[in-house]
């Protein structure tokens, strides 16, 4: 016994060699070790004393029940009455109650404009998926797009137009608003003042035409466009290198080697959907055993860095030097590729060896990088992040050309820009004009410049000098608060529109529901202002859109059908394709490198401002589902934070949750610290999109507004600042993360999960030599109970860890499909988030250079499920088709099942979270419409967990019966599978030997987690193979 204790203690004190999930775990924080002994976190049952739940005593409760029953008995004329059934008066032809309809449309969550398929039930949208016919997004969309359905039903949406009179705000009718504004605009035109429209980027050809026509009918109108995150540095560099055009699209699927420089192309840069699909296609073990190789050089740990085979820690301001040194090494030293003479003059000053030395980089990795780039000339991509300066992009263009990688520039299609973003000078000029009273009317066209624009523009003050400020918005915002008119606009799902982001296709957007509130779509509002008399019936923009399509797009498409047929076909498909002109590329401008200047090596930190993965530029801050999805790397929900390295934290004397003051050129912000393994020393990374104010209940005061750190005169790029001071500030701020609870281990064997092969992995070379290398972890399993035979369809899932990038889009899909409630920060803190699927993230190695493994974890539907044996009321049982079923009606909430679950995937409803979150914010008639009617809405006191989307299985069975055939495994897809951009999730019938799932289950790399428990899980993971050179394993 004593020896055992000693062993155990030794295990606890062992440091570092294996997987660890946080610094507290790595350094064996005694408090954490103590916590892990426990089944649940401390405090999980706090505030759960019956006194707090209800003030009514038991006796009084019974008295009331008795009295109500007596009253009900006496008062009801017919206790058998079952309510009314109300059929349609005139039933729409396509609607059959109980059956969903799907409509193709276009997502407007970000300027990428993916094709979507909206599922509606009895006329209300309940789910959004990608449109499989869309040539770019190919049936997938991101978390923002999926969760945008909650914005449609957001209780805080503005319900009617508002006018500000002095300090009071009054609701006004659209008719009056239109009259007032028309006269203000006319007055402004007559007095020769400017009418300024501030919009985000325009991807719709028809909206562009509308803006142009508006400007024609009201001379003096100017349209300004801005984005918080944009590709202008990349495109400006492209124009300096190649004269004209924009940065081309890339053939990611043909790249054998990718070097990403501070670029999060898998996370939130460019067309993420397409990039993830093409990139992970090169890591499909079913197709190839020679994977592509990803090098990532970055200062902050991003989703892309997390998936890199090799990762280098380089601060954002050193990237230019890095690229130039690489150029020097490749072109001058190795004599590969050609650059112009003047470029040669520039690059010869930089030495890679010096760079490695000054930045403390691993020499071996760099030499592999050089070798790989040289060996894969014409088949590699060097990609700089959008936040890097123009100079870096120029150098990268030169490097790509020297390596012959221009072969991977896509020639068949090119990006389309309908309205170029306003450069800094143009915006400054606007603000000057606003201050001097030269702007008569300012229209914030679904934009929020008060929040987004750097404060040194002085936008807010300038806005006060404009006599009429009009804001078109769905929700209140920082800008609407300062406006004279706030006009509520339609949600995407209530609007008409179109989009084109690259040549070769147009995508169409159609409303799937009539406006729920007294709103109009933003284009309609402008359109109505353009005509003198108000024609109130219907949405005039519908007609406008059709006219533009008839005159421009239909005419250009040269189809043999008439326009009506063409239009309805386009509406049905959501997209039309046309032949795009093939693009050709010149040689890079020989003097492009001429103007390059290294940023001054300043003292202090380098600040990197990042886009939030789920909130975008803050547009989705009022979406509870998105706020609650843990950050893919840090697993933090409901907050942003200053991510710094372990060494920096020690130097500053701070630990997690301590507040620090970040200061740059007089702008400062206090933020909590999070020590993020893998951050470059001397770098600090902060996400934008948080810290909204004056919006609505969910968004307000969540996180910190780091836009305040931005400056219009940023030297390198709007998102990178050097010479930033970071100092310890007074106080702490609790940031909550989902990473330390869900301790995987059972108390008896706690802390040995790293030797339990929960994550199994190898390298490509190892796999090529011995495909069965995982066999050494296999167990001879012996059971004293008999195994039940499953003869019919048996459901199983497989998750390919080679393809999974850990983006959490599956989590969002699951939330929407299965009515998963939002619980709020306070509940996440005590480990009560309700997500049915979570992405476990494991670190291994050192805090400086961590190696990361991700694993989506959901109910494993074990054949011998331990949860089933312990339920005293048989509320969780097994079905004939291999599902572990959860019966809410039987559940009495003992939580024994969760206790006995080795995977910790069961979630308990500690509250009725719809009532509990933000005082019942999501308990509203409007929000109830978002619920999937095929899935029970769970109440307080019941356990829940992944059901393998049993409602979809039932639906498929219904269809199969209707068609008179047996149910096939391929009839069903789960919500997470539909959403997975990388196609990492496969679902089907494991008893069908021909099925895809059977092949995955039998694959050499397939393993089940905690196999030795012999619970026989039905979720198989394919072990991750790292594409690294063997000697540095």
């Amino acid at each position: 016994m004593a020896e055992q204790m000693k062993d155990k203690n030794q295990q606890q004190e062992q440091v570092d060699v294996h997987y660890w999930r946080s610094f507290r775990e790595l350094y064996r924080d005694p408090q954490l070790l103590e916590e892990k002994h426990r089944e649940f976190k401390e405090g999980v049952t706090d505030d759960f004393s019956p006194d707090q739940l209800s003030q009514i005593s038991r006796r009084k409760f019974f008295a009331l029940v008795g009295a109500s029953a007596a009253l009900a008995g006496a008062g009801c004329t017919d206790y058998r009455e079952k309510g009314a059934v109300v059929p349609y008066n005139k039933q729409p032809e396509e609607v059959l109650p109980g059956k969903p309809n799907f409509y193709a449309s276009t997502c407007t969550a970000c300027p990428t404009a993916c094709g979507i398929l909206i599922k509606t039930r009895e006329g209300r949208p309940i789910k959004v998926d990608g449109n499989p016919d869309h040539p770019v997004s190919k049936g997938k969309i991101c978390s923002k797009g999926q969760a945008s359905i909650l914005n449609l039903y957001d209780p805080a949406r503005l319900r009617n137009p508002k006018k500000k009179n002095g300090n009071s705000i009054t609701s006004v009718a659209w008719k009056n608003v239109d009259e007032h504004i028309r006269s203000s605009i006319t007055a402004s035109v007559e007095s020769g003042k400017e009418i300024a429209i501030i919009t985000h980027s325009v991807v719709s050809p028809t909206a562009k035409k509308l803006l142009d026509e508006f400007a024609q009918s009201y001379p003096g109108t100017r349209v300004y466009a801005y984005e918080l995150f944009h590709e202008e540095n990349r495109n400006n560099a492209w124009r300096k290198c190649y004269g004209s055009g924009t940065f081309p699209l890339l053939k990611w699927d043909e790249a054998k080697v990718v070097l990403s420089l501070e670029s999060d192309f898998l996370g939130n840069e460019g067309n993420k959907i397409e990039q993830v699909r093409l990139f992970t296609d090169g890591r499909d073990i079913m197709k190839t055993d020679t994977f592509n190789r990803l090098y990532s050089a970055e200062s902050a740990m991003t989703l892309t860095g997390m998936n890199a085979d090799y990762r280098l820690r380089i601060k954002a301001d050193r990237q230019l030097e890095f690229v130039l040194s690489l150029l020097n090494e490749i072109v001058v030293k190795k004599g590969a590729g050609e650059v112009s003479l003047s470029a040669l003059g520039v690059i010869s000053k930089y030495s890679l060896t010096d760079f490695i030395e000054t930045n403390g980089l691993p020499e071996k990795v760099i030499s592999h990088l050089i070798d790989d780039l040289l060996a894969n000339r014409g088949k590699s991509i060097v990609h700089a992040g959008r936040s890097l300066s123009e100079d870096v992009h120029i150098a990268v263009n030169v490097l790509n050309e020297a390596l012959g990688n221009t072969a991977l520039y896509l020639t068949s299609s090119e990006p389309v820009t309908y309205h170029t973003l306003s450069p800094k000078d143009e915006l400054s000029e606007l603000i000057e004009k606003m201050s001097s009273g030269e702007v008569g009317v300012l229209i914030n066209y679904d934009s929020n410049p008060v929040y987004h624009l750097p404060s040194d523009y002085g936008f807010t003050d300038a806005m006060k000098q404009v006599p009429t400020v009009i804001t078109l918005t769905e929700l209140d915002s920082e800008t609407s608060h300062e406006s004279h008119y706030v006009l509520p606009i339609n949600h995407t799902f209530e609007s008409w529109g179109d989009a084109q982001t690259r040549t070769g296709y147009y995508s169409l957007q159609q409303p799937v529901i009539a406006p729920l509130l007294d709103t109009r779509q933003k284009e309609e509002i402008l359109l109505r202002w353009m005509s003198a008399e108000d024609n109130t019936d219907g949405n005039p923009y519908h007609r406008y859109l059709m006219d533009h399509w008839e005159n421009a797009i239909y005419a250009g498409a040269r189809r043999s059908v008439d326009f009506r047929t063409f239009w309805y076909a386009a509406l049905h498909d959501g997209v039309i394709t046309e032949r795009a002109e093939s693009r050709s590329f010149n040689r890079v401008n020989p003097d492009a490198l001429g103007g390059i200047e290294l940023p001054a090596a300043g003292e202090g930190f380098t600040l990197l401002l990042q886009e939030s993965y789920f909130l975008g530029d803050g547009k989705f801050a009022n979406n509870g589902w998105l706020q609650e999805i843990p950050h893919p790397v840090s697993k933090i929900a409901w907050d942003n934070y200053a991510a710094i390295s372990d060494a920096s934290a020690k130097k500053l004397g701070v630990k997690n949750d301590d507040l620090v003051t970040i200061e740059t050129d007089g702008r400062s912000l206090d933020l909590p610290v999070f020590v993020q393994p893998g951050t470059a020393d001397g770098a600090v990374a902060v996400m934008l999109g948080y810290g909204r104010t004056k919006t609505a209940v969910v968004a307000d005061n969540v996180g910190f507004n780091a836009n305040l750190l931005m400056s219009k005169d940023s030297r390198q790029s709007p998102w990178v600042y050097t010479g930033v001071s970071v100092k310890k500030a007074r106080g702490t701020y609790r940031v909550v993360s989902t990473q330390e609870h869900h301790a995987f281990d059972i108390p008896r064997v706690q802390d040995i999960h790293y030797i339990r092969h929960i994550i199994q992995e190898g390298t490509i070379e190892k796999y090529q030599k011995d495909p069965d290398f995982l066999d050494e972890y296999k167990h001879d399993l012996f059971s004293i109970t008999t195994q039940k035979e499953y003869t019919g369809v048996k459901w199983a899932m497989s998750i390919d860890l080679n393809k999974c990038i850990g983006c959490a889009d599956c989590v969002t899909a699951c939330n929407v499909e299965n009515n998963v409630p939002v619980v709020g920060k306070d509940q996440v803190q005590v480990g009560r988030e309700m997500h049915w699927i979570r992405i476990d993230r494991y670190y291994s190695g050192t805090p400086e250079e961590p190696k990361i493994a991700m694993q989506p974890m959901l109910c494993q539907h074990c054949d011998k499920a331990p949860c089933e044996n312990v339920c005293p009321v048989v509320a969780t049982v097994h079905s004939e088709d291999g599902l572990n079923q959860m019966v809410y009606n039987r559940c009495v909430g003992t939580r024994y099942c969760s206790n006995n679950c080795p995977y910790k995937v069961r979630k308990f409803n500690f509250f009725n979270f719809r009532d509990h979150f933000r005082r019942g914010y999501y308990r509203s008639d409007l929000v109830e419409l978002v619920n999937n009617p095929e899935v029970t809405v769970r109440s307080r006191g019941v356990m829940e967990k992944c059901t393998f989307c049993v409602q979809r299985i039932s639906d498929a069975r219904e269809t199969a019966t209707q068609e008179g055939r047996p149910l096939k495994g391929s009839d069903v897809t789960t919500a997470c599978q539909d959403a997975c951009n990388a196609d990492a999730i496969v679902f089907g019938d494991m008893n069908d030997p021909e099925s895809k799932i059977a092949k995955y289950r039998d694959h050499n790399l397939g393993y089940v987690v905690l196999e030795e428990l012999n619970v026989r899980p039905n979720v198989t993971y394919l072990a991750k193979l790292r594409n690294i050179h063997t000697e540095d394993k």
Binding site: G83, Y88, N89, Q91, P97, G98, T947
Partner: protein, 190 residues
């Protein structure tokens, strides 16, 4: 207390009382069962629609009105516009039809009294049952003979399971055509 009285209470009165209570409860329980399950519930509808006339005498197929029964979960109460397919011409002088027409023309919702109902947490699908060849009458009775439709079968979980376990006992005509129905919880609850 007198000893013999106590003896009498304990030996005779108490057991008799308990017996009477149990018997009364049992009789009430079983006697009222049908009533409690809703069997025989025949509410008055807003419009005197006769299934005996439409489905019986005129032989209109059930699916002419209940369009969803083969395609989806709900059989569907027909929309007012379906009625108007015929009644735009047929029997326009009847006051009931005039009422119906008013609903149609003025767009007033027509609220039929609900007769059959399974709870919200039970996901019953008409299409699966009908497509397996189960006749409507098995659950709904001989509707084509009812002037006023009422509930004839119990719609409890027990009633569902009786049939799922022994379908051939209930529906001998389907012997050899269908097998047992699923008994998994998730077949109905999810």
């Amino acid at each position: 207390m007198d000893k013999s009285l106590l003896d009498h209470i304990l030996r005779i009165r108490l057991p008799v009382t308990i017996f009477v209570i149990i018997v009364a409860f049992t009789i009430t329980y079983f006697a009222s069962r049908a009533e409690r399950d809703g069997i025989g519930y025949t509410p008055t509808q807003p419009i005197d629609f006769s299934h005996a006339l439409h489905a019986g005498e005129m032989q209109i197929d059930c699916q002419y009105c209940h369009t969803g029964v083969e395609k989806g979960r709900h059989a569907n109460i027909p929309s007012v516009s379906s009625c108007m397919n015929c009644h735009a011409i047929a029997k326009r002088d009847s006051p009931q039809i005039q009422r119906l027409t008013r609903h149609y023309e003025e767009g007033i919702p027509l609220e039929w009294e609900r007769i059959h109902r399974v709870p919200d947490f039970a996901y019953f699908s008409h299409s699966v049952h009908v497509n397996k060849g189960i006749d409507c009458a098995n659950c709904h009775g001989n509707v084509e003979q009812m002037d006023k439709v009422g509930q004839v079968q119990s719609f409890t979980m027990g009633a569902c399971l009786d049939c799922h376990r022994e379908p051939h006992k209930q529906m001998p005509e389907l012997a050899g055509l269908i097998q047992k129905g699923p008994e998994d919880c998730a077949a109905c609850h999810r």
